[in-house]
Assembly symmetry: C2
Homo-oligomer: 366 residues x 2
């Protein structure tokens, strides 16, 4: 087992990464504050892992709530079912929530913990690659609104993160690839060497080689922890973690939450960011092709939906948390391994990029 630390003063917490960690509750029990635990999971994950976690918590009052699976359920109504259960069970400020599932479960559990009685503790047990390398770390929590993704939320750090790579064995291939998109992101924004490692080890990741997965998760979490420690509430540098996300959120919102997986939308979004960066003379055409090749190797889509026309795409991009005083700000690439945040480009460059990646055929899903 490897342990990393997210260094945030009195809000610091460990990330444990390894095989079969769920079998040893000593990894997370020290982070349960009181006697009450609510496990939040979903209909896909609960049948596989819920009993394992529940049975480990013999000395606690344990309840669970099972959410429907999918980004389309990440909204205030479903969030309220978590509050319902907490209040039906008279759980108090000493309760600890455990998020057992992917990014949607983690984001909603964390937001419920941020708001319940104005803030209680929670633990992340991410069971998808995307959640293990990205959404479970850093304290961003929230839900979607029909008009914009992740628009309602809070910064609320978990008490610990437990990434058991064995849970990835039950993940379907599409989810695995979606997670790899966020792994590629870390190479693109901050680590050329890691990017090269990914180019060489993509086949190993796709066949779920444990050593390759462990290393990819560890390096991703290291980079995320460094960036979050430098800028917890995204006043500046943290925004580089959103490479591809402004494009990606437009696809997710425009196509209806759940039609595209978050990682899929971020994947094509990163390619679009690379293309826009090449228009500004920062990347070469060869760099853009290199990004496209890695996404294809990871079995990720490299076109955006044909029904999302350019005008609508850009309109959706303008509803984004990075927009400030009306200007679209984007994370772009100075080179492979170095990201910058800028609004210093013409609207025509966005239009070019959006037009360039729109799918020519009638395929609207990856």
């Amino acid at each position: 087992m490897k342990t990393l630390t997210v260094d945030l003063g009195d809000r610091s917490y460990p990330i444990h990464i390894g095989s079969d960690l769920l079998s040893d509750p000593n990894h997370y029990i020290p982070h349960i504050r009181g006697k009450q635990v609510l496990i939040v999971s979903n209909v896909t994950v609960a049948p596989i892992y819920l009993d394992k976690v529940k049975s480990a918590l013999t000395n606690f009052t344990v309840e669970s709530v099972i959410l429907p699976d999918g980004e389309e359920h990440k909204n205030l109504d479903i969030l309220n079912t978590i509050f319902d259960r907490l209040l039906e069970k008279h759980f108090d400020r000493g309760v600890t929530l455990i998020a057992l599932g992917g990014g949607v479960v983690g984001d909603m559990t964390g937001f419920a913990a941020a708001c319940y009685q104005r803030g209680v503790a929670f633990i992340q047990i991410p069971t998808t690659l995307l959640a293990q390398v990205d959404s479970s770390v850093g304290g961003k929590t929230g839900v979607n609104h029909p008009l914009g993704k992740n628009m309602i939320g809070a910064f609320h750090q978990p008490a610990c993160v437990l990434a058991d790579i064995n849970t990835l064995n039950t993940l379907d291939d599409r989810q695995l690839s979606a997670g790899i998109a966020e792994v590629i992101k870390y190479g693109l924004i901050r680590d050329t060497e890691f990017y090269v490692w990914l180019e060489e080890n993509m086949p190993a990741l796709l066949r779920r080689d444990p050593d390759a997965l462990s290393y990819a998760i560890e390096r991703s979490c290291q980079i995320k922890a460094e960036v979050v420690a430098a800028d917890e509430r995204e006043g500046g540098v943290r925004a580089i973690l959103n490479l591809g996300h402004t494009f990606g959120h437009a696809i997710e919102t425009g196509m209806g939450y759940g039609a595209w997986l978050h990682g899929e939308a971020v994947g094509i979004g990163m390619l679009m960011a690379a293309h826009l960066s090449s228009q500004l003379g920062w990347l070469t055409n060869a760099d853009v092709e290199r990004v496209e090749a890695l996404l294809i190797a990871a079995r990720l889509p490299v076109h955006s939906p044909h029904t999302l026309d350019g005008k609508r795409f850009i309109e959706l991009m303008s509803v984004d948390k990075k927009v400030l005083d009306g200007a679209i700000r984007l994370v772009l690439l100075r080179s492979i391994g170095e990201a910058v945040i800028t609004s210093d480009f013409g609207i025509d460059t966005i239009e070019n990029t959006v037009a360039n990646y729109q799918h020519r055929t009638d395929r609207d899903t990856p």
Copy 2:
């Protein structure tokens, strides 16, 4: 105009108290961060004050959302109408929300500001006495759940508070008395001299004497600011501000939000806390009578609803943010002017107190 400061480091902010402050936007314009403003008000307050505030903000993009009036609308569904408007208007992280109304408007606006894009700025312009002396100061925001009051929320401090005492002239008598309940609270928990002042000046407050109101608001805000500065997130002493609230929340939740005004429920709740304190030998019977006399002088109810039987009352009290590991903790009085937080009493003392104040007749509303 008097200005107090809530001293919270980089989250410090001023409270301006005075006559006709709404006419001079210079009091709050410096606290608007960007170019976008959303004013949140309600159907009662908006017709009187909304245009005045809107017309002062000539250099900003100003939108408004008008909520229904009353505690029964302080829920996630109505909260969502604030998010709807923010997103329809493409308002970004630079937006400033202005709460123009009473406690419900302030709590919901503050919570919307806490959650919108994970946190934007907001300004409190409280237009009821209760909001001016209590709910607008200190950063507690949130909404109710059918099973418990203020159970979903956040700590999110405003950028400034503007208490214009002229707005109290349009307040109905019942709302005025409800606000006075929270004023009495400050005397009871921390300031015997102020309590005596209230006994002497209750007639002046009820006839809305501007000097008396100004002093009562100023002294209340001073005490609240001191307590909040000492314990922003209610780890300890801040809980004394909840004198009467555990009893009061039981009435509000049990009778349906809005049937009793919050201040009315807190008023009888403080009397019950005084009675329970006398059972523990802390207050004399004369002290309890003195509290009852001041509530009567303030035209506040001194009985709880007859339909809320003892068993149900105590069950409702056990769903409270001060409950910890199953034990009901209450704010009680060592003397008039000194509060303590304790769970060191038998359930029979609560039962006695609840039984003692239940209305013998069929009156269920104040």
